[in-house]
Point group: C2
Chain length 453, copies 2
Amino acid sequence: MDEATRKEYYELLKFESVGADPLKLRDCAQCAAWLKAWLERLGFKGELLMPDVKDGKAAPPILLAELPGAEGAPTALVYGHYDVQPPDPLDEWETPPFEPTEKDGRVYCRGAQDDKGQTFAFLCGMRDYLSGLAEGAPRPTVKVVLEGQEESGSAALSEMAPGLRRRLAADVLLVCDTHAAPGLRPAIIAGLRGVSHFTMRLTGADRDLHSGEYGGIAPNAAQAMAELVASLHNPDGSIAVFGFSDGIEAPEHEERRLAEAFAPTEEAMAAEIGCPPSGGQLGKTIAQRNSFEPTIEVNGIHSGYGGPGSKTVIPREAVAKISMRLVPGQTPRRAFDAVRTHLEAHVPRGMKLSIEDYTPGAGGFRLPLSSPLFRLAADTLTAMDERGPAFVWCGASIPVVSALRDASGAAPLLVGWGQAEDRIHSPNESYSLAQFDKAREWGGRIFAALCQR
Amino acid sequence: MDEATRKEYYELLKFESVGADPLKLRDCAQCAAWLKAWLERLGFKGELLMPDVKDGKAAPPILLAELPGAEGAPTALVYGHYDVQPPDPLDEWETPPFEPTEKDGRVYCRGAQDDKGQTFAFLCGMRDYLSGLAEGAPRPTVKVVLEGQEESGSAALSEMAPGLRRRLAADVLLVCDTHAAPGLRPAIIAGLRGVSHFTMRLTGADRDLHSGEYGGIAPNAAQAMAELVASLHNPDGSIAVFGFSDGIEAPEHEERRLAEAFAPTEEAMAAEIGCPPSGGQLGKTIAQRNSFEPTIEVNGIHSGYGGPGSKTVIPREAVAKISMRLVPGQTPRRAFDAVRTHLEAHVPRGMKLSIEDYTPGAGGFRLPLSSPLFRLAADTLTAMDERGPAFVWCGASIPVVSALRDASGAAPLLVGWGQAEDRIHSPNESYSLAQFDKAREWGGRIFAALCQR
């Protein structure tokens, strides 16, 4: 890393931009202003958008910046986030969490990787590309959106995105906030599942009742919730909700082949999670179940007594938290409607059902393997590393990416350079100079490639 | 009430005998000593048994007293408890909780009814009987056992009872700690269900997992517990556990007829509990379901996230508390073995089951309607009140009664004079002079009847 870049990188890392901490709002604002100035030195025109105050809480600013390109040239939208996880537990840090410290080729600091490091490296690559252009050469329009709330849910940007359609409109959405495959082999996130969630509550009697005096008489909310939750799946683990899976787009043969090729074995997964990987439908592979199938997952059930010993009550109420992971062909609304219809049809005798806190979230997506963008990315990464990219159809969700995809119309291209040893979200987070260089090289190459296509 | 009895009753009530409160151990001991002296004035020989210290906690003494009767005369064992519920919340008492206060024919005090009042009134009746006997007339052997831990589970007496078989041996076990029917109509508890309980735990992965990254891969302990709990019952509400109901003694026609006659209607029960009384098996009546059928009840389920909003985890662990109400023909051990076998056979894929804190508790019993004791009690109560007794096959359990029944070999006869307005366990507990007189009359009459049969 050249000294000028290192100096900037360290300046950026020193901002204590913990987006979730109201006491760090000023640090976040300063960090956003620093990034705005940095982009403006490249010719961007930047603006700091202040989200509405919600529930008395202000949110960190959203930086929106644009560098107009040649007429007819493609438009790239770069998304990243400058907020970081809280540094707690502080006493486990070997160096101060906001004092970048280099050791054995790695920079230790909160945000060294996630996502100040990755995004800044990528933007440095973009700068390399822009500064290398011949005078008057056609260049793409570049838009940059950097938020300060990703680690706490991206609420403001997700809400504002639909109103920023025109300013976000782009052909490709570039995100450098994910992992490479082991051994720093490049990886393209070829798909993400969507996510929706809600809370459901069953209510029976008007109080917890004595299990002797009322046993056999009063309906039991804990038992009722068990029955209702159990009704969501068939004995083979498949989803039993009528209509939920309607319209799901089956993966193409090539997607299946690549996903299987990069999926962990059952044995490796058992070692990773500490039990047999028996979730999902019997007879389907790990790659199918995690990459191409939706889930309905119970995130929690709580009802009645849970303390030491016993309390022989008939619980009056039970609450379950449900989340759904969605795949292409499903929409959050249709999936939820199917689940709600199922739940209402299966309410156990004597119970009242209420559904609360429904959050539609976002649908899932898969990049078409045959799309020019996908091939461009794969070729670019193969030029960087002869192993070529791994392809990851990720079972997780990045709702803000879906929101930006919807608002911008852009095809998302998620390539990041994280590794497990970076320990993001934990004490002693770090990012190696080698990773930084890869992310920077990727940033330069993908812009060049986009303009050549 | 005569003044001498009232003076004694009030003395007894003033002891702050909160058995569950270690700071009131001295009050409990003084209360027990007072009762011992009271019985010894009638000719009893008493002893205060000190339970073993458990987990560093001493328990209130158990008073065992005996008055030998004529050779060949029956032996009656009287059980009661001198401990009371804590008086909290103190500020809701209109008079001091341990200062007996008479108002409109009712005595207000903690323990005025439960169970210092009921037991003392009953013992006063016994005293009336004994003092009315002609010189040299044959009389029964009377044994009295009074404990100070009933409100917190009767642990010490239940544990010591098997070792006291010889000293507790009796023909009839007299308990005055229950309710009369509405309108102070006499009631005989013609049966009680038994109770056992345990905790079950399902464990999957070695930590809570991200529901995106591992959804469709990792087994979900909350969903697994829902399936396991749901497997315990059939869709019609009947118990689905093979062998659990083996050997259950069906009620006789007359028991069914009487239980139906005194059972609340579905409408009355719905009003009482605030929801449809839809527990138990479809097609059976409230009396059947509560009096003559066993239950397997989930007292609580806890797993995963239960806070505000959402946390999209796959819970690694789920815990459920289960209690069973048992009816004659079942034994706690056989019932539990059937449930455990069922649970082990239904453990969902990927989960480990562990069963903890199994407490066998006690079996249920029913008094044979045709037994001489039952007819004696019914006749005695009919002589007291022309309406005759109500018969209650109670869905609840009094495990200490079962323990004493097993240890003494005696047939339990539970007749009490409580009414809903006594507000036991609540502030402003009270017992009317009319109730006291009924309990006292009953005490005198049943002893007389026992000796005449």
